[in-house]
C-alpha cells in the first residue's frame, strides 16, 4: 500500500499542527450530521473545497473531487425513490418523478459525503502518515490503533490509485476503435486486489517488526500560535451550528 496522498506545501493548512487538525476533522465530520438547514448544508460542502483549493491548488482539488463525481451521479439517479409522498417537484405525463423532499434529502447526503470526504482528503493531502500516527497517539490512542487508523485512512485513496492502475492496464488492451475500459472486469479486479492486499500487508508489517515492542510515545513540541490553531479548529466547526 505504498501510496501517499501527501502533497508538499507551505499553506496555512499545511502549517496547522496535526493535533488541532485531527480534532477539526473529527468535529467537522460529526457536526455535518447535526446540521439540516440548506445554507449550513451548503457550507459543509463548500468549506473543505475552498480550504483544499487554497492549500493544494485547483488541479489537485479537481483530482480529488472528480473521484467522488460518479457517486454523486448515482445518488442523483436515486432521487425518484426518495420521499415519494412529498410535494411534487418534477412531473412527467402525470407521474411524479421527483419530490421536493426527495431532492433536498439527496442534496443533503451529497453535501455530507462531499464535506466529510473533503475534510478527510485535506488531512491526507497535508499531513504525512507518521504525523497522523503521532497526532493520534497524542490523544492517548495506543500505537497499534494509531497505525491501524492511519492505514485505514489511506486505504480508500489507495483503492482509487489501484483502480486507475487497473483502468490503465485494461485500456492498453482495448481493440482498435474502442474507448474507455471494461467496467465490470475492472471492478472485479479491484475487489480481488483489495482483498488480497490485506494478508500481504499484515505479513509485511510483521516482517518489519510490527508487534515486537510497544514504541514509546514521542513528545510533539507546541508550534507558535498553538492556542490560536486550537481555537480555529474548535470555533469554525461549532460556528456552523449558528447557521440557520
Amino acid at each position: 500500500m505504498n501510496i501517499s496522498s501527501y502533497i508538499y506545501g507551505t499553506s496555512f493548512y499545511h502549517k496547522l499542527d496535526v493535533r488541532p487538525k485531527l480534532f477539526f476533522t473529527l468535529l467537522f465530520s460529526v457536526i455535518s450530521f447535526v446540521l439540516s438547514s440548506h445554507i449550513s448544508i451548503a457550507v459543509i460542502f463548500i468549506l473543505p473545497l475552498i480550504i483544499m483549493m487554497l492549500s493544494v491548488g485547483k488541479g489537485e482539488t479537481w483530482r480529488c473531487y472528480s473521484r467522488l463525481l460518479p457517486l454523486f451521479v448515482i445518488m442523483i439517479l436515486f432521487i425518484p425513490f426518495q420521499n415519494r409522498d412529498g410535494h411534487s417537484l418534477l412531473v412527467v405525463r402525470g407521474f411524479t418523478l421527483a419530490t421536493e423532499e426527495g431532492f433536498w434529502n439527496v442534496l443533503r447526503i451529497i453535501s455530507r459525503l462531499g464535506g466529510i470526504s473533503g475534510v478527510l482528503m485535506l488531512l491526507l493531502l497535508t499531513e504525512r502518515n507518521e504525523s497522523i500516527i503521532r497526532g493520534l497517539r497524542a490523544f492517548h490512542l495506543p500505537y497499534n490503533a494509531s497505525l491501524a487508523c492511519s492505514m485505514i485512512l489511506r486505504y480508500i485513496p489507495y483503492l482509487g490509485h489501484l483502480f486507475s492502475e487497473i483502468r490503465d492496464a485494461m485500456s492498453l488492451r482495448l481493440e482498435e476503435g474502442k474507448r474507455g475500459y471494461p467496467m465490470l472486469p475492472s471492478i472485479t479486479a479491484l475487489v480481488i486486489s483489495a482483498i488480497r492486499m490485506i494478508p500481504d500487508t499484515a505479513s509485511a508489517l510483521e516482517e518489519r517488526g510490527f508487534g515486537r515492542i510497544k514504541p514509546p510515545k514521542e513528545r510533539i513540541p507546541h508550534p507558535s500560535g498553538y492556542l490560536i490553531q486550537w481555537l480555529f479548529s474548535v470555533i469554525i466547526p461549532l460556528s456552523l451550528l449558528l447557521v440557520r
Binding site: N2, S4, R128, E175, L190, R208, G209
Partner: protein, 439 residues
C-alpha cells in the same frame, strides 16, 4: 550458522520443496540460480516467516540459526537474525515516505532516536537516496524502489541477508556497488537469481540451483536460445521534441526528460539504457499513451497520435507485471485479449504456461511471461519491454523478444544489463543528463 532441511507445500497441495537442504557459515555467501517458479522466493519467505503466515501451507523439516530453531519464531522475532529484499518491491513498501519506510522497523527494534537517525542517514546515503528522504515511495522509479528496499534491510542489518533478484532494476553503477558490498560484508548473504549476471562472478563461496524441489550444485548449461533477428519494415513510430515532466508531489520537486528525436520501425529492436530514475519508464508511458507529455509529439507514419490513440498501437509491458495482471486465472487474462482459442493455446505452449494457473499465485518471472503472452496476442505494432530481462531466465527472455520480432512488432527493450544490451540486435539509446541520445 544457518542450517536448513525443508519441505514445503502450499495450502492447495502444491509441493514446492522436498528435503531442500543447505548450510551457510558465518560470513558465507551463497548464490542460488534457478528458473522462475522453482521456489526461490518461497524459500526466502519461509526463512523470514512470511510463509506460511497468512497464506497457509505446510512446512516440515527444520531451519536453525546458531542452533536456534527459527521456524518456531514469529517473523518479528527473526528480524534481527534474517531479513530479505523481495523481488516484488511493492510487496514490502507500506508507508507514505522513504524515511518512514526505514524508520518503522528501527522503531520496532527499540532503537533510540539518535541511533535511528544515524542508521537512516547512512543507509540513505549509501544507496543514493538522501534527496528522496521525504518523497512518497509511490513516486519512486523501479530502481529507486529497489534501492530503498535494500536500504531498509541494510539499516536493520540482520545476521543473514536474503537478496531476492536484488540486482534487477539496478543500473550498472548500483549493481557494481551492491556486488562490492556483498563481497566486503561480514554478514552472511543468500542471493537468489534466475540467470547469471556478470556481477555474480567471483562473489560467492557456493553457487546452487533448485531442481525438482531440491538444491544441487549449479552447473552452467549450454543455452539453447537464438539471438533475435529483426525484420525491419512497415510503419514508423516517431517522437519529436518531447519534453516529459516527472513530479515528486510529496517533495515539491520535478524532473524533466528531453527527447529530441526517437524512431522505432515495425520489426526493429532498439535498446534503451539509463540510470535509475532517469525517465525510461516515463518515456515508455508517454509513448504508450499512459502519460501526457509536457510538449512535443508522438506520431506513426507522420500522423500525430492523441494519448488514447497510442494505446491501440503501442504495448507497454510494465516493469512490475502485477501492475498489469488483475484477472483471476491465466486463461482469463489471455481470453481478455479476444484472441482465438487456438492462438491462445499456441502462445501458452510457446511460453510454457498453463491455462488454469491463478495469476496471483504465479512467481514474478512467470507473471512476466503471462504479461508478454497477453501483448503478443494483442498484436500491437510496437511494444515496450520495461526490464523484461529481470526475473526471467536468459532463454525465456530471448524467446519473448524473438516472438515479438517474428510477429513484425517493433520492440523497445529497456534494460540495465550491459550484456543483454550487447547481444540484442539494433540501435542502442541512452538517457544521460535528462536527454535521450544514441549510445
Amino acid at each position: 550458522m544457518l542450517t536448513a532441511d525443508l519441505s514445503f507445500s502450499y495450502a492447495d497441495g502444491r509441493d514446492i520443496f522436498h528435503s531442500l537442504s543447505f548450510s551457510l557459515k558465518k560470513g558465507g555467501k551463497i548464490l542460488i540460480i534457478s528458473e522462475p517458479g522453482s521456489g526461490k522466493s518461497t524459500l526466502s519467505r519461509i526463512l523470514t516467516g512470511a510463509l506460511p503466515g497468512y497464506t497457509g501451507g505446510t512446512i516440515t523439516g527444520h531451519a536453525e540459526i546458531d542452533g536456534k530453531d527459527i521456524l518456531s519464531l514469529l517473523s518479528y522475532e527473526r528480524m534481527e537474525m534474517i531479513g530479505r529484499v523481495s523481488q516484488n518491491t511493492d510487496e514490502l513498501l507500506l508507508f507514505s515516505s522513504v524515511e518512514e519506510e526505514i524508520s518503522f522497523p528501527l522503531i520496532n527494534m527499540g532503537l533510540d532516536k539518535e541511533e535511528r537517525e544515524k542508521r537512516i542517514s547512512s543507509s540513505l546515503e549509501f544507496f543514493g537516496l538522501t534527496q528522496y528522504r521525504g518523497v512518497s515511495t509511490s513516486e519512486l522509479s523501479g530502481g529507486e524502489k529497489r534501492r530503498l528496499i535494500l536500504s531498509i534491510l541494510f539499516a536493520i542489518d540482520p545476521d543473514i541477508y536474503i537478496l531476492d533478484e536484488a540486482f534487477d532494476e539496478l543500473s550498472p553503477y548500483w549493481r557494481g556497488r551492491l556486488r562490492d558490498t556483498i563481497r566486503s560484508s561480514e554478514r552472511s548473504m543468500i542471493v537468489l537469481g534466475s540467470h547469471m549476471l556478470g556481477e555474480y562472478v567471483d562473489t560467492f563461496d557456493n553457487i546452487l540451483s533448485i531442481e525438482n524441489g531440491t538444491l544441487r550444485p549449479y552447473t552452467p548449461h549450454d543455452s539453447s536460445f537464438a539471438i533475435p533477428v529483426m525484420k525491419k519494415g512497415g510503419s514508423l513510430l516517431r517522437a519529436e521534441d518531447l519534453s516529459i515532466e516527472r513530479m515528486h508531489r510529496s517533495a515539491g520537486s520535478t524532473f524533466t526528460l528531453s527527447v529530441p528525436d526517437f524512431e522505432l520501425c515495425e520489426g526493429e529492436c532498439v535498446t534503451l539504457l539509463g540510470d535509475n530514475g532517469s525517465g525510461k519508464s516515463s518515456l515508455a508511458r508517454v509513448l504508450s499513451g499512459l502519460l501526457k507529455e509536457k510538449s512535443g509529439s508522438v506520431s506513426i507514419d507522420g500522423k500525430a497520435l492523441t494519448v488514447r490513440e497510442r494505446r491501440h498501437d503501442v504495448a507497454y509491458l510494465m516493469q512490475n507485471p502485477y501492475e498489469e495482471l488483475f484477472l483471476p486465472t491465466v486463461s482469463d487474462e489471455l481470453e481478455s485479449t479476444g484472441a482465438s482459442s487456438e492462438r491462445i493455446d499456441s502462445v501458452l505452449s510457446l511460453f510454457s504456461l498453463e491455462r488454469g494457473e491463478y495469476v496471483q499465485e504465479l512467481s514474478y518471472g512467470k507473471a512476466k511471461m503471462v504479461q508478454a503472452a497477453i501483448f503478443l496476442l494483442l498484436g500491437r505494432r510496437f511494444a515496450i519491454l520495461d526490464e523484461m530481462d529481470s526475473a526471467l531466465s536468459t532463454e525465456d527472455f530471448y524467446k519473448v523478444i524473438s516472438s515479438f520480432l517474428e510477429n513484425g512488432t517493433g520492440v523497445l527493450v529497456i534494460t540495465h544489463d550491459m550484456n543483454v544490451a550487447a547481444t540484442l540486435p539494433g540501435r542502442k539509446l541512452m538517457i544521460e543528463g535528462g536527454v535521450l541520445n544514441e549510445h
